[in-house]
Symmetry: C2
Subunit: 390 residues, 2 copies
């Protein structure tokens, strides 16, 4: 086990009708004038936004709304938000939405007090921001951004999708009401499940030896998702399945499951190129990328893939042919994604052209660096993994 | 799953030589004058206290020492600490020790600014304290007090052992270096393992339906302890076993494993009477109490005990006789405690007299209330459970 620091200070308010407490929690955390950020029409149409803003008004707190955040959120929207916050003298940010809205909020938060362009943080030109405080009312369990330090933004200029991590950007409080997710379509529910599973698997596949406790907890959350996701799709109003998925999304990405180990993250890098280029949903992209990545790298540590197969997918260990056990685990994962009606090949995503070389070059900085930690992947490796997605 | 609020804001600094960062973290959290609280001679003899105070001095922070905290920590020591803090104008508390030292620190923390007697909080006469900030350098993984909101203090007047919970009493930061625990004797290592397992089992046995995610994570931590505790006893310098135990102790009691459910806690209540009356180690007492409690209540929810047996102790399910599976799980737990050389009967603790009626009366307030939530236990039930410990 490696040395680590773990701090997840976010207050999670979980359960039925929790969004009606938004105002009182904003008050508790000292908000005076709030930017309420949201995405498309569903937040309005469902009545959620009304309930949230009513709760804010009842707490005697002022607010300004800004909607229109798109999936795979873009830099221009972040800049727009920064300008609005400066103009309106906002002192607290509230994201009502999923990962895209939350990440946009976090990016706005690090940009308000920064004199340069906020993209500087994403391309390594700036560091140590002083983020504005923010909070979340979660609508889509997937990205885990409600409890994480991460944000991912796409710069439309060059279609660059880049992440930035900042401990101080963690949400002050996050309101998680599983009922809100009853109306999520099956496709989005499935994309969310894949995304959170990926957050766990990226951490699970590590070269760090002896991480038993974190391994077992990761397997626990994976098994729960594997049970809950089909249940939520079969019965969208299954409260307990929705609740398991929502809490799993948070636990998957709050770094609890990173403790003591180095994660991989190559699958995320490979997928970011796909969604930047083709605008596909991140979860759907990960369902294609992850099994391909596994097939390419599993021989690097067959025992770890056997443990994954056995403990997560109940594959019986073949002691005489561990490679077969490892591969069976990967195929079980692929089968599970198919069961969720997720794509597992690029063609399922409608991607039939061959931009593998371009994407491999982009993700490795034109071959100047490798990606991943479990196995270090060169530009050529990335190209071959994209080939496996055909 | 029930509605819940989860907030665990403590910063955990985990790993080799972590105690040398004590000073810089105290500085980060604004300490100016620190009370360094510790227990017996081992903290001094091992050189740990020197390393910690050196680190504090190097950070330019003043400190005062107070040693002599005993296991099953007592109210008089808490009062002594409160007086000292007021006299020395302490603004930050640091516990270098295990649960007894940390709980004493927390109790001092809620007492300094309170005009009345600090015991008022433990007997329900006072609430909503304003605790002083505190931090921990952990020496014994067991009580989980390094990440919990709880404290337990014994009032020598009447041998009353009582707990108090306060969210604001959670440690600001906790330094966890598994190497420090290499010198822990086998007995203390075993007591610690039982204590943390009990913290998980108290939460696990619940009447709340559909708590899959929390159940599975609880099983993950239990399985890890079951593997790590004998390994650490067999080889006291096994870093990874020590590390698993240390992190497990924190996770067992930081409330992560309570999310969405109501825990039981009758075993802790029953044990507190034992250790108050006989001064035995809490973990050793729990090794006697827990299987007895299980044997008395398991029929209340046989499926849950089957799940425990099957998932935690790999007992094969007897579909035609679930009661047998449930009982096998309980016996496996008892066998595991024996493997750790823990007592499983009162006689093993040297307790041969019969004070069952007295203890049952004390824990139920002379029969005025029940204890436990999984099964509500009357004074008579408690008496019968003590009988099962013979």
């Amino acid at each position: 086990m490696q040395n680590f620091i773990f701090k997840s200070p976010t207050e999670f308010i979980f359960g039925k009708e929790a969004e009606n407490q938004t105002g009182s929690y904003l008050k508790k955390y000292g908000a005076k004038k709030v930017l309420v950020l949201y995405g498309g029409k569903s937040a309005k149409a469902s009545g959620l936004l009304d309930r949230v803003t009513k709760s804010i008004s009842e707490a005697g707190i002022e607010y300004t709304e800004m909607g229109g955040v798109q999936p795979n959120p873009v830099l221009s929207k972040v800049r727009e938000g920064i300008e609005l916050c400066r103009k309106e003298q906002i002192d607290f940010l509230l994201a009502v939405g999923g990962g895209s809205v939350i990440d946009t909020m976090k990016a706005i938060g690090i940009g308000i007090d920064y004199e340069g362009d906020v993209w500087d943080y994403f391309c390594g030109k700036a560091s140590n921001p002083h983020p504005y405080p923010g909070a979340v009312v979660l609508t889509i369990p997937a990205a885990g951004s409600e409890g994480s330090k991460s944000m991912v933004i796409t710069n439309e200029n060059g279609l660059l999708k880049r992440g930035f991590d900042c401990e101080e950007s963690r949400s002050k409080f996050s309101i998680l009401n599983p009922e809100i997710t009853y109306t999520l379509p099956a496709y989005q529910t499935a994309c969310g499940a894949v995304d959170m599973m990926s957050h766990i698997m990226e951490r699970y596949f590590t070269n760090t030896p002896s991480v038993e406790l974190t391994d077992r907890m990761s397997e626990a959350v994976l098994k729960t998702i594997i049970h809950a996701a089909p249940a939520a799709i079969a019965n969208p109003s299954d409260y307990n399945a929705r609740a398991d998925l929502m809490w799993a999304s948070t636990l998957a990405h709050c770094d609890l499951l990173s403790c003591g180990k180095t994660g991989d993250w190559a699958s995320h890098d490979l997928e970011h190129e796909l969604s930047a280029l083709y605008g596909i949903a991140h979860g759907a992209g990960l369902a294609v990328v992850t099994p391909a990545w596994m097939k390419y790298v599993f021989k690097h540590d067959i025992p770890r893939f056997c443990q994954f197969a056995s403990r997560v997918f109940d594959v019986e260990m073949n002691y005489f042919n561990p490679e077969e056990t490892a591969l069976t685990g990967i195929y079980k994962l692929e089968e599970f994604f198919k069961k969720l009606a997720m794509p597992t090949r690029l063609a399922d995503l409608g991607i039939t052209d061959n931009q593998f070389q371009l994407m491999a070059a982009k993700t490795t900085g034109q071959g100047t660096h490798t990606i991943g930690n479990f196995a270090k992947l060169s530009e050529n490796d990335c190209c071959q993994i994209y080939e496996l997605m055909k």
